[in-house]
């Protein structure tokens, strides 16, 4: 549609214009940088909080007390049986000796001094494939022979699920709000730089430039501003995240949760930040210029 030489001209003009308006360009790039940095940091934070919440959620398990009369070998067979139930992801066996040790750990040594037979049960810890199926799984296990009691904290767990869900929803709302704000702030800045050049746009039109001919260099300029503005945030967020990840991961490695693995996550986040800068840059320019293009 447009000749190659025209594209080359537009490209050249966009660079020249950025340079000749360097003061404004710098201000725009600065605004984009700060905004995307904000988005990058908070998105990383929020996604990790959501990840951690989900990890905790996944940690929910059903505790099955096995009849005291059942022998250990049979108990292990029961474990196999439970394992085969639908929606069961994981079964872990814990003997009554293990359980006693836990009680002692929590309540002081004196319990171990009790010189009688261990009164506790052998126990199965069962995880559902999806945390929300925990109640189902519990019911199924309860129906099996040889289980004396199935504990999974009914009401409490529902409340916990609800909390995790709320966290996740709030997180998503925050991300969406952040992105909208970024769109507004960046396109607003670009609007201001273009408004300052309204006079130029009018002149271009008066000497016979079509709307497209005027628009394209401005859009390219917007693209560069967005692109340049995305570089620093991407570097900062990537470097910051990797260093934090390396420092914090060892500390939490025995916990039930972990942080988002950097490689993949950062790649995606970078692409998103870059795309935001570039897309808002281009469309912000295109939108802002529209009202100055109207022929009188």
């Amino acid at each position: 549609m447009m000749a190659i030489k025209t594209w080359i001209r537009h490209l050249r003009d966009s660079f020249i214009s950025i340079w000749r308006n360097r003061w404004m360009s710098l201000a725009s790039v600065g605004a984009v940088t700060v905004t995307l940095l904000l988005v990058g940091v908070f998105v990383a934070l929020i996604l990790n909080v959501n990840k951690i919440a989900s990890d905790f959620e996944k940690d929910v398990e059903v505790k099955v007390l096995i009849d005291t009369t059942m022998k250990e070998t049979k108990a292990l067979a029961l474990a196999q049986k439970v394992k085969k139930l639908p929606d069961v992801a994981e079964v872990r066996y814990s003997s009554k000796e293990d359980e006693l040790q836990k009680v002692i750990d929590d309540f002081g040594e004196d319990l171990s001094l009790v010189d009688q037979e261990n009164p506790l049960h052998n126990v199965l810890y069962v995880k559902a494939t999806e945390p929300q199926k925990t109640a189902d799984v519990a019911r199924q296990i309860d129906a099996l022979k040889g289980t004396s009691e199935v504990l999974y904290g009914k009401g409490k767990i529902d409340k916990f699920f609800q909390m995790v869900d709320t966290t996740r929803t709030i997180g998503l709302v925050f991300i969406v709000a952040l992105v909208l704000m970024a769109v507004f702030l960046i396109s607003n800045t670009i609007k201001l730089t273009i408004a300052a050049r309204q006079h130029e746009i009018e002149i271009m039109k008066l000497v016979g430039a079509t709307n497209n001919y005027v628009r394209v260099p401005f859009m390219l300029e917007g693209m560069w501003l967005g692109l340049f503005g995305a570089v620093l945030p991407i570097i900062a967020v990537a470097a910051g995240y990797m260093s934090l990840y390396e420092r914090l991961s060892p500390i939490v490695q025995n916990e039930v949760f972990s942080f988002l693995e950097p490689t993949n996550f950062l790649l995606r986040l970078s692409v998103i930040l870059l795309a935001m800068g570039v897309v808002i840059g281009i469309f912000g320019s295109a939108m802002s210029i529209r009202k100055y293009l109207a022929v009188k």
């Binding site: 000497v207 016979g208 079509t210 109207a294």
Partner: protein, 227 residues
């Protein structure tokens, strides 16, 4: 070529700049437009390249009614005209060379041609040595000559100049007038709003006098005062 029929222009503020203007200009004519300050000369000129749209009436340029021209087509009208604006309207962030070249770039001329043609025109208006300057680094008269160079660079069929010598000394004025005469001799229509009695009386052409938005006299080879 150019024809206006009962053209009225009322600006949003309420001032009536044109009040039933009728005129017809043939291809190849040289027309002075004179009249007191605020008479409507610039408004008349702005009708031709659609900077302002008529409130009523017909404005024909090359058989096209400008008042009905869609926004998309306006740029193509403007490319057929070379306009010297009263306030120059130079692009502040482009050099002298770039300002003049821009009129050729929009019609997608080749780089080589542009370079040759712009250099030629800048020499013609005596600004060859100032090609790399920016508008704010020029004297008033130099800026005005850049505006003239831009108007004639794409060899338009019609040149419209609004007070193109207001900031020029008599010698430079004379040189610019010779340029306009020369392109007129090649068949270009020239329409020039001016207050310069010396020019109008010294280089005789058709004189159209506008007062209060109407043409009050129109005579070939007349002088500034309409005789």
């Amino acid at each position: 070529m150019i024809e206006m029929k009962q053209v009225f222009k009322k600006y949003p503020g309420g001032s009536k700049a044109l009040q039933g203007l009728n005129v017809s200009i043939a291809q190849g004519e040289f027309v002075y437009v004179v009249g007191p300050s605020g008479a409507g000369k610039s408004t008349f000129i702005k009708m031709l390249y659609a900077e302002e749209r008529a409130s009523a009436g017909k404005v024909l340029v090359n058989q096209v009614d400008v008042t009905k021209l869609s926004a998309r087509k306006v740029p193509f009208l403007r490319r057929q005209l070379g306009v010297v604006f009263q306030d120059y309207k130079l692009l502040p962030k482009k050099s002298v060379y770039e300002n003049v070249a821009y009129a050729l770039e929009v019609i997608e001329k080749d780089q080589k041609f542009i370079k040759q043609r712009v250099t030629e025109v800048l020499k013609l208006v005596g600004l060859a040595t100032k090609a790399k300057r920016f508008p704010h680094e020029l004297s008033g008269g130099e800026q005005q000559r850049v505006a003239i160079a831009r108007a004639i660079v794409n060899q338009p069929k019609i040149v419209i100049a609004d007070e193109p010598t207001g900031n020029l000394d008599p010698t430079t004025t004379w040189e610019v007038m010779k340029v306009l005469e020369a392109i007129n001799a090649q068949g270009t229509t020239v329409i020039m709003a001016t207050h310069n009695r010396e020019v109008v009386d010294g280089m005789r052409h058709r004189v159209v006098r506008i007062e209060k938005g109407r043409i009050v006299s129109d005579r070939a080879g007349g002088d500034y005062d309409g005789y």
